[in-house]
Symmetry: C2
């Protein structure tokens, strides 16, 4: 069965999942506290880190399992707005973006793709969620599609009822005001079965599986 999955979506105690002001210096805006317990090294497998294998890391490592393509919002790729400037920008990740699959960046300003040696290809498409998902699925080689965020993009896919699985992680910080993740109070209860565990690090992992 083909799934559309969301992984490692960090949320504050007051329900915010991203910063307000994304800049070149602050890729995640003014919400860095959300990622203070995150170890990106393990997203491709718990063997990728020297330090202890923890429950957090085991759960983070679902990120890459069986994924064949990603869809992301434009701000996950860069801080630019409007028509793309001729600035040579290739994303936040230097020469080796961690995706290693086709990635579809939602933008009203399509442009030629950017390819990397590790298999990452950034495609820029102007599409509604359902169409973007069809495009990503066709490129995923029979594997699942990951929705990479940010929260505004995820909310669009939730509103269109296109999300099959979601792994959110509540971080014990309060942000006050940033980008809200949850908008529609009914979506979660009505559409998903929830399982959650809290870990010694203070994180609460919630696994939301779409009710069939």
């Amino acid at each position: 069965m083909f799934r559309t999955r969301i992984h490692n979506l960090f949320v504050s105690l007051d329900g915010f999942a991203a910063g307000d002001h994304v800049t070149f210096d602050e890729p995640i805006g003014d919400a860095a506290a959300l990622f203070s317990r995150f170890d990106g090294r393990v997203i491709m497998g718990i063997d990728r880190a020297d330090a202890p294998i923890t429950v957090d890391r085991a759960l983070f490592s679902m990120w890459g399992q069986g994924i064949g393509a990603e869809i992301m919002g434009r701000k996950k790729f860069g801080p630019q707005t409007g028509p793309w400037p001729d600035d040579g920008w290739q994303g936040w990740w230097d020469d080796a973006p961690p995706f290693a699959t086709p990635c579809f960046i939602l933008t009203h300003h399509p442009r030629p793709p950017i390819e990397f040696a590790n298999g990452t290809v950034f495609h820029f498409i102007d599409a509604y969620p359902a169409t973007a998902l069809e495009t990503a699925r066709a490129a995923a080689g029979g594997r699942d599609v990951r929705l990479g965020g940010g929260p505004s993009t995820i909310r669009q896919f939730l509103d269109a009822d296109l999300v099959d699985f979601m792994h959110t992680i509540t971080v014990p910080v309060v942000l006050g005001t940033r980008v809200h993740l949850w908008d529609d109070p009914g979506v979660l209860d009505e559409r998903f079965a929830l399982e959650s565990v809290s870990t010694p690090s203070g994180l609460t992992h919630r696994l939301w599986n779409r009710l069939s």
Copy 2:
């Protein structure tokens, strides 16, 4: 860093981790209750099963991550004892054993290896734990080595202080008398840091990381 890892080691509430009597009909002896909540389909990745992605499955899926070889006791391969009969036995797994790596089976009766199309190769070696580990490591292509059990084999490696990581899963069943996992009361406390979570299914996952 190279690790020697144990995964999905199911233990009863009274500390037993295998059955007494392994036969052709009962590969895990009279301890099938230990595996009643285990879904082997997800050991290679949480995407390998249609049903919900649960915390249990996410943790089971560590099994295959970054593993390049396995070491197992003879009874995990088959119920035979003494010199190998000429019975055409190739293990419990038909044509596609799930390992897909070299596997080293500890036996006092070495014999030629058995190869499968999916990359699994069963080697039969007569070796002490440290030597077996050297052999497996050389075949693991820079990845980790998994100790596949059973409990008697694992206990030998624990006694020799050769285990870096262990994922045990306590199952809410009482077996009464079978094969004990824990022998030496000091080993766990002194050598490992523990993190544990309990899941809605009733399992308790314990992740033991060797203290450096």
